[in-house]
């Protein structure tokens, strides 16, 4: 079909109402998704600036750009901003908000006002946390380990703790909303095993949000009470145990890794099916592997504490359980690969991100096994090996998935296409820049370079220069999409309902969708990826 014949729908959720209050008081899940998008994009830039400063400092062995105190604050604030203000809300709050009701065939989430409240709670928490940063920063590391955070640190631990506590309620309420929506709002015929795998992964993520976040919340309350009011639950002077803090902290913060990666896995399942025109191989296994990751994720927190004075037996149990997480993760990777086999593959921008995800996540996951192995972990604890490992999961995995998802659903969100060539350039740039940034850090860590120092011995410089060079390429890679996506809002070609020729309820409605998503409630009669049954019309534009 010729692009000239396509036009945007006359009314849709973006032009249904105008004015600032129509956004700030909206209960439309799609608009709330965009409110989150604006907020987290801002914090991604802030966190990125901190990362850039860290890499710039590490260009030379001497601690010359910033002092050690400032450096401590830089990596702390990079971690806090990127984890709590960007990664945790990223896919669920933006794409999840936009897509969950559409994918289940509903008019909105179960609790639309609660959804808006989630955004306001997030913003209040974000303002408080940002306040802690502006008023001098925090230097404890994003982990807030006691007794340093409760007794020694002179920085704004209190304010940051309160901010993150508040943000936690946002992710609890969003997760709760998703779970209830998936349970009670599915359209006629949308059985559990006809749901897109994105919904399964969002469901698993939401379980972690609902059950994990409150433990972080109470732990931060205890830290705040200890700092402010002398109640001392972790205070060694009272006979309290700082290691208990680590247990409680990681009981949330390890599952939080899966809050960040599971939604990306869901996105990748959608992309692999759509761009290889095949049903996902082993759909049921991929669906249950999301739940398995969520459940195992709650049982492995101890592997962050192998050198914190844990008993040998405790460490062995946590080590074995940590290996178990590799099973559902590998099920996903193998099944995606099997889906590609004999598929009709097209390498459009979202697909490049998805393939990048599979490669980088595999490296990140396999190096996770190194860290789950007790002997190796003792050798590389607190080195750049750990830094490289979790950046492969969180940047190489979570953000690649986020970018892939944004590129896939952007035409649905805005009604317009971006230039695919620039999309491909950005995907390749990010992939190359990412590997150049973080692969040298595996080597550095294995050679023994510790993390969290602003100066290092001369022999590590060559690899650090490579890493900093990679970071600048990575930064450019993220700037390119910012430019062409904004450009596409006005000048992009009109996308039509289904620019990718993909299967899914979201592709049956207009782009952008109407306020209540569908003109009439859809009735589902086929599995999620029935590419062998339904022959979707050719993409409306080439």
């Amino acid at each position: 079909m010729d692009t000239d014949t396509l036009a945007l729908p006359r009314t849709h959720y973006l032009n249904a109402e105008y004015g600032i209050t129509s956004w700030l008081l909206t209960t439309d899940h799609k608009r709330i998704g965009l409110l989150f998008l604006a907020a987290i994009t801002f914090f991604f830039v802030i966190g990125g600036i901190f990362a850039g400063l860290i890499r710039l400092e590490l260009l030379t062995p001497a601690g010359d750009l910033v002092g050690d105190d400032t450096y401590n604050k830089l990596f702390t604030m990079h971690g806090i901003v990127m984890i709590f203000l960007f990664l945790i809300p990223s896919i669920p709050a933006v794409l999840g908000n936009f897509l969950v009701p559409i994918m289940v065939g509903a008019r909105d989430l179960a609790f639309p006002r609660l959804n808006l409240m989630s955004w306001y709670i997030f913003m209040i928490g974000a303002v408080v946390t940002t306040g802690a940063i502006v008023l001098g920063g925090v230097d404890t590391g994003w982990t807030f380990y006691t007794p340093f955070s409760t007794h020694a640190s002179q920085s704004n631990v209190l304010m940051a703790g309160v901010g993150i506590f508040i943000i936690g309620f946002s992710s609890i309420l969003t997760g709760l909303n998703f779970i209830v929506t998936i349970h009670t709002m599915r359209a006629p015929g949308m059985t559990w095993f006809r749901m897109p795998l994105f919904l399964w992964s969002i469901y698993a993520t939401s379980l972690i949000n609902v059950l994990g976040t409150p433990v972080l919340a109470i732990t931060l309350v205890a830290v705040v009470l200890e700092r402010a009011m002398h109640l001392g639950i972790f205070d060694p002077a009272y006979g309290g145990d700082p290691v208990l803090f680590q247990h409680l902290f990681w009981f949330y913060s390890h599952p939080a890794v899966y809050i960040m990666i599971l939604p990306s896995m869901g996105v990748v399942s959608e992309l692999i099916a759509a761009f290889s025109r095949k049903n996902i191989f082993g759909y049921t296994f991929v669906a249950f592997s999301s739940l398995a990751i969520a459940i195992f994720g709650f049982l492995v927190w101890g592997h962050h504490m192998f050198v914190a004075g844990m008993s040998v037996y405790g460490a062995m149990i946590f080590s074995v359980l940590s290996f178990l997480v590799a099973v559902p993760s590998a099920i996903k990777v193998f099944n995606w690969t099997a889906t590609l086999y004999k598929g009709s593959i097209s390498f459009q921008t979202p697909m490049l991100y998805a393939l990048g995800f599979i490669g980088l996540f595999t490296i990140g996951g396999l190096t996770g096994l190194f860290l789950a192995t007790l002997g190796v972990d003792v050798h590389v604890t607190d080195t750049y090996f750990v830094v490289a490992h979790f950046h492969y999961i969180m940047v190489g995995g979570a953000i690649m998935g986020y970018m892939g998802g944004m590129h896939y659903w952007w035409p649905k969100i805005t009604g317009r296409m971006y230039p695919d060539l620039w999309g491909k350039i950005s995907a390749v740039t990010i992939f190359l820049g990412f590997n150049l940034t973080f692969f040298p850090q595996f080597v550095l860590g294995y050679m023994g370079m510790p993390r969290r120092y602003h100066a290092y011995p001369d022999e590590f410089q060559a690899l650090n220069v490579l890493s900093t060079a990679g970071a600048s390429i990575l930064g450019v890679g993220y700037l390119i999409p910012a430019c062409y996506l904004l450009w596409s809002l006005k000048y992009g070609a009109v996308a039509g309902r289904n620019p990718w020729g993909a299967i899914g309820l979201e592709w049956t409605t207009t782009s952008p969708p109407p306020t209540f998503n569908f003109d009439s409630t859809p009735v589902v009669t086929t599995p999620a990826y029935a590419y062998d049954v339904i022959k979707p019309r050719e993409p409306e534009r080439a």
């Binding site: 909105d108 609902v210 433990v215 109470i218 205890a222 006979g239 247990h247 409680l248 009735v523």
Partner: protein
């Protein structure tokens, strides 16, 4: 699932359904679905709350095992009479709450209001007695910090017990205060005649919350007051 039978049938446009059921929000298909969503939402929220208190219970368990003597000493300094009265007050408030929910379900407006008022009154009595207990603790210098003073072995460790005591009962009291706020809203809605046999979900799920806060106390009371009374 209740919506399966809708397959193939023409489904109403969102706005038409609201003509019949004033309480039905536009994005739900029917009242049953709306009620199911609200109830599931509250249960999930209570699951969150269990984990929230769970962190403190885990800390209590650890230190109780490590320092049983200190915990026994410190526990005996609490006022068991007031604690027991408070337990009775709170259990009674759950009864009046349950009666209010029942009255709302049968559409008895006055009985609903009476039940809610009694629940609130008992909640206020509980908080009042808790306040008296806190005052006693302040007067006896049992509040952790520089002014702390405790007669007995390992007084510094007793601060651990009192840290947990104030954190746990304080959070519980905060939940009671929030519960009173919710009950005030329920009372107003009942007074306005908002509830009927067809629609009383808010009273029902507020009741769930109230019972949950009650149950937390049922665990706190033995852990904090009774831990060493058998001797």
């Amino acid at each position: 699932m209740h919506r399966e039978d809708a397959i193939g049938a023409a489904v109403d446009h969102p706005s038409t359904a609201t003509l019949h059921e004033p309480e039905l929000k536009h994005h739900f298909d029917d009242m049953a679905q709306q009620r199911e969503a609200a109830t599931l939402g509250m249960w999930l929220f209570l699951a969150t709350e269990v984990l929230f208190f769970g962190g403190l219970f885990a800390a209590y368990m650890l230190y109780r095992v490590w320092y049983p003597g200190t915990f026994a000493d410190a526990s005996r300094s609490l006022d068991i009479t007031l604690g027991t009265i408070n337990t009775a007050v709170l259990i009674t408030s759950s009864l009046t709450m349950a009666l209010a929910v029942r009255a709302a379900a049968t559409g008895e407006r006055r009985a609903t209001m009476t039940g809610i008022v009694l629940t609130m009154a008992l909640g206020v009595v509980f908080l009042g007695i808790k306040g008296v207990e806190y005052y006693e603790k302040f007067a006896e210098h049992h509040v952790p910090g520089p002014g702390f003073h405790f007669e007995g072995q390992a007084p510094e460790r007793a601060q651990l017990f009192f840290s947990l005591y104030f954190a746990m009962t304080g959070l519980h009291a905060l939940h009671m205060i929030i519960g009173l706020g919710i009950m005030a809203v329920m009372l107003y809605m009942a007074w306005r005649g908002a509830f009927s046999r067809r629609w009383h979900t808010p009273v029902e799920i507020s009741g769930l919350y109230w019972h949950f806060v009650d149950i937390v106390w049922i665990f706190l009371f033995p852990l904090l007051y009774l831990v060493d009374r058998h001797k």
